[in-house]
């Protein structure tokens, strides 16, 4: 039963163009921007204060493209779910699979698996190309905490996509979902996380907490109450909440 639905969802996801272009965009933007910022950082290193040099984190710098690349992952996550509603496909889907939980979680499982594969590949490629740009200041994959950060980068991209799937399952409309998620992750979360007045709350937002996994060198003034895995755990709680909300919405409402 579940394997049938998983196979069906795989056919769905591979047979629409939006899957290819959203994921390609996520890969290209993350890698290209990461390389660019790594190259710029290498040239600026000599001009940095001693303090900044001490907390220089080559691994984290190579992931600088993730902030923009994650937006494409958000679009991917939103479209995978909300396309069902915007196209009317949901009526065919639920007539074929009336067990709504099985339907939703099979869809999410397939999209998550694909996100994880793409996310991990992106994360590794981004790391190695970014380090190549950094030249003498580069980190090695074998350095303490680096492998954790690189794998974590892939997981981070996956969790962002999953969070978006949950939000889309709650809101149903692609425009509404994107209209909330894009500005939130691109602007609002950054503002809340960096303004001292709201920092205490901002640091618990999914992307702020989750991105801690990609840091290898802890900044000097860092007073975050969680470590890399703790941060990822906070992000996971957000994802679980969004998916639970999406499931309850689907369960309760008419299709």
């Amino acid at each position: 039963m579940v394997t049938q639905v998983i196979r069906s969802e795989w056919t769905k996801i591979r047979s629409v163009a939006s899957t290819v272009w959203t994921l390609s965009l996520a890969v290209v933007v993350t890698i290209a921007l990461g390389m660019l910022i790594s190259a710029l950082s290498k040239n600026e290193f000599a001009d940095m204060s001693r303090r900044d040099q001490a907390s220089f984190d080559p691994t984290f710098i190579s992931f600088a493209g993730m902030g923009l690349g994650q937006l494409a992952m958000i679009v991917f996550g939103v479209l995978v779910v909300s396309n069902e509603y915007s196209t009317g496909m949901i009526r065919s889907s639920l007539a074929a699979v009336p067990q709504r939980g099985t339907f939703l979680f099979s869809k999410i499982a397939v999209a998550t698996g694909l996100s994880l594969a793409v996310g991990l590949a992106t994360s590794f490629v981004t790391f190695f190309l970014g380090q190549a740009m950094l030249g003498d200041h580069r980190a090695e994959i074998g350095d303490p905490g680096v492998l954790r950060a690189v794998i974590g980068g892939g997981i981070y991209m996956t969790l962002i996509a999953m969070f978006s799937m949950g939000v889309a399952a709650m809101l149903r409309s692609p425009m509404l979902s994107l209209g909330i998620l894009m500005p939130f992750f691109f602007l609002i979360s950054n503002i809340l996380g960096n303004v001292s007045a709201t920092e205490k709350i901002g640091q618990y937002l999914p992307d702020q907490a989750g991105s801690r996994i990609m840091q290898v060198v802890t900044p000097l003034d860092d007073d975050k109450p969680y470590g890399p895995w703790g941060g990822l755990g906070i992000m996971l709680l957000w994802v679980i909440a969004a998916l639970a909300g999406g499931y309850l919405t689907l369960k309760k409402r008419d299709a």
């Binding site: 049938q4 629409v16 163009a17």
Partner: protein, 330 residues
């Protein structure tokens, strides 16, 4: 006799759907049985699509119950092999090809991929199977929806307004398809807002208006009961003819455009009476009210009946304004 002599029943019991204050489907109880085409007739907005969505478990009933062979829809294993449905609204992703659309539905119900090619062939979409469905005409879309309904070779088929958007050839094709599906012993439940369409395809008729059941009857019975025969008369000696008819015990009703109408098929009797009393007739013609009129009368009566129960003490002009408000009750 047929492959489907057992099963294939749809049973609705007190099925009700309320959207806030509005009652879309009101306490519907009827059954749909195999081997015949059952027409589901009602004006637009009568609740036909909502009823069909509840049968498929897409919408949840506010009250009441609908079962397929005694089971709720979500208790059916691989439901597409029990019941296939063509829904009124488009129900596919325009960026996906017809083949992949049907393939993902087939896979979810354990239906082999070879069946996808079969149904594409049946509905005549093989040539465009690999094309994205967003380029499809309305008629091609209907055919794709029908292919989806046939996919699981189900014993129950449900079509919501299937002739919409089809050209005459397509309409002819779908009528024959429904009849042959029923002849194979399957249950065919088809909605329409056109009486004329139902008269051509349905063996049994379920009529609803404003979400309520108005009739559940065989087609011949419906025709016999509802197609009123009357005689239309035009005469320059109206008063004299009315007297003559009155003496003979015949009631004539004056129509607005100067004609008289007499119920029943009494044209010979009236002609003889007129001749005997030397009344000039300009017209004496037997008429048959169409099924369409009968249907409109039936649904109009339901509206009127609601209005009376809603506001028995109100003056008529106010009652008119209250027609749409009967759902405020219950």
């Amino acid at each position: 006799m047929s492959r489907f002599s057992v099963g294939g029943m749809i049973e609705l019991t007190g099925l009700t759907k309320r959207y806030g204050e509005k009652v879309a489907v009101n306490n519907l109880t009827f059954g749909v049985r195999p081997g015949i085409v059952t027409g589901f007739l009602g004006p637009n907005g009568a609740g036909k699509s909502t009823t069909m969505r509840m049968i498929l478990g897409l919408d949840r009933p506010t009250a009441g119950d609908v079962r397929i062979d005694g089971k709720h829809y979500d208790q059916l294993k691989d439901p597409l092999t029990y019941i296939g449905a063509l829904l009124e609204a488009k129900a596919w992703h325009g960026g996906r090809s017809a083949y992949n659309h049907l393939l993902c539905l087939a896979q979810s119900n354990g239906i082999p991929g070879s069946r996808v090619r079969e149904v594409l062939d049946t509905v005549g979409l093989t040539a465009v199977a690999k094309k994205k469905t967003k380029g499809f005409s309305m008629g091609m879309g209907q055919r794709l929806g029908i292919a989806g309904a046939l996919l699981g070779d189900p014993r129950i088929l449900m079509f919501d307004e299937p002739v919409n958007g089809l050209d005459p050839e397509g309409i002819h094709w779908i009528r024959n398809l429904m009849k042959s599906l029923a002849a194979q012993g399957r249950t065919v439940f088809v909605s329409s807002h056109l009486m004329s369409e139902m008269a051509l395809t349905a063996d049994h008729l379920v009529v609803i208006g404003q979400g309520r059941l108005l009739a559940d009857t065989s087609m011949p019975d419906f025709i016999a009961r509802n197609s009123r025969a009357y005689v239309r008369i035009r005469t320059p000696q109206r008063e004299r003819l009315l007297d003559v008819l009155h003496e003979a015990g015949i009631t004539a009703v004056e129509n607005g455009n100067g004609t008289l109408e007499v119920d029943g098929g009494k044209s010979e009797q009236i002609g003889e009476l007129a001749a005997r009393h030397q009344v000039v007739l300009h017209e004496l013609s037997p008429q048959q009210a169409s099924l369409e009129e009968a249907f409109m009368q039936l649904t109009a009566e339901s509206v009127e009946y609601h209005a009376h129960t809603e506001a028995p003490t109100r003056p008529p002009q106010q009652r008119q304004q209250q027609w749409g408000a009967d759902w405020k009750r219950s």
